[in-house]
Symmetry: C2
Subunit: 239 residues, 2 copies
Amino acid sequence: MNIWARKLATFGPLAMDDERLLDQLIANAVIFPAGEDIISQGDLPTDLHVVLEGCACRYKVLPDGRRQIIAFLLPGDLCDLHVFLLREMDHSIGAITASRVATISRDTILEITSQRPQLTRALWWGTLVDEAILREWIVALGRRTAYERIAHLICELYLRLKVVGVANGQSFELPITQTELADTMGLSLVHVNRVLQRLRGEGVVEFQSRTVIIRDAERLKQIALFDPIYLHQQGGTNA
Amino acid sequence: MNIWARKLATFGPLAMDDERLLDQLIANAVIFPAGEDIISQGDLPTDLHVVLEGCACRYKVLPDGRRQIIAFLLPGDLCDLHVFLLREMDHSIGAITASRVATISRDTILEITSQRPQLTRALWWGTLVDEAILREWIVALGRRTAYERIAHLICELYLRLKVVGVANGQSFELPITQTELADTMGLSLVHVNRVLQRLRGEGVVEFQSRTVIIRDAERLKQIALFDPIYLHQQGGTNA
DNA sequence: CGGATGGTTGAAACCGTTCAAAATCTGTGG
DNA sequence: CCACAGATTTTGAACGGTTTCAACCATCCG
């Protein structure tokens, strides 16, 4: 099963041939080199993108250069199920590492939504979870200390990567620099570095050469005040 | 035209009888007293809510009591077009002031989406804008100083309220306390108070007895590094 | 080997917090 | 209409988390 299908399947069972369709849709994937924008602020979006390999991010830059990363786009993530309805991109999406990204046309999406209820439902679910993640990030930025905040992000990424099978055991690759972590957490590079050292020194997590190793998961969750409910990974529904 | 219709109409023209339908839908509105939850974290959502008068907010509380407000729900705002798909609320929605709120059933929404394309499109648009606001708040919390951040929020609320006709001239009612402002901006109450005094002293904005008076709009926008594009109020589209 | 990128360190400065108390406002009942 | 209680705003001072600046070190790679 391709990684996109694997993620969507966590939101509920797909129809028999949905999987096959997904295979076809991602056949056109291309590689975006590290650092390149997949789509930029001000662009008029036409297609959607699905990340298959690598790591991308959604970000905004203030006029004076301050940058804030708004979301990580991991393998299996659809970049914008609906932002493409809007006239103009109000933010950019860039590849952090070289990333394999498939392009899905607007028409394809419209076809899916009119003909494939299970798949449509799964796509929806994905966007709802993305929104829930945005909310939790707001809480992290507003009310968690740097220490808690970084711990929280690691918890989140671990669970998200586990779902798509990219995290194995207690470690996962997180191919971002500390500068990017700083732009994600609303912190300075220097402080990120110090917090990571603290977490390492306390035997909670190590972050070296782009790999996160969780040494004490229980402790990490405590520090982060982590409650996984916002990721809605159980796929249950109320309907 | 009721306030909900007025807001939706900014996203594009509605059909002749859409307006009439909206009138019917909000006929059941009830008042939630100030401080009361409209729906709480952990609840299994059944219906949607539309704020017609007053001011509500979406918020989360950490186990130790720290609170973060994630969104303001102003007159004309639909609380959760889709969160109701999820099994369990991962956050709460509470009335800040006494608020008149209508309840819309899930079935009604399904009916609209299957039979009223213009209205459906407008509802969608609204959720996209809500998401864009979340993104901008992340930027504000992560990369703007307290001073810029508060200025930015005032710019945003002014434009949002203007659309629904609740802001007249250069002032609008913002019936929140400084404590709530602090919980929104990820700041302490004391610091919010000082920033407000600074803005007042500089002749930029005044915030007294729940009313915001913008004295120097140009200056305010400059301070906030405000770019209104994320509110997507032009209603234009790319489709 | 040299240059570039990313990580680490130290010290000083600053923004924002905390604590604690006073002042002001608001609504309510007498 | 006043008095009082509670909520909200304001003030001062000390503290601390985080930033900034400015190096220095490590690693990778051609």
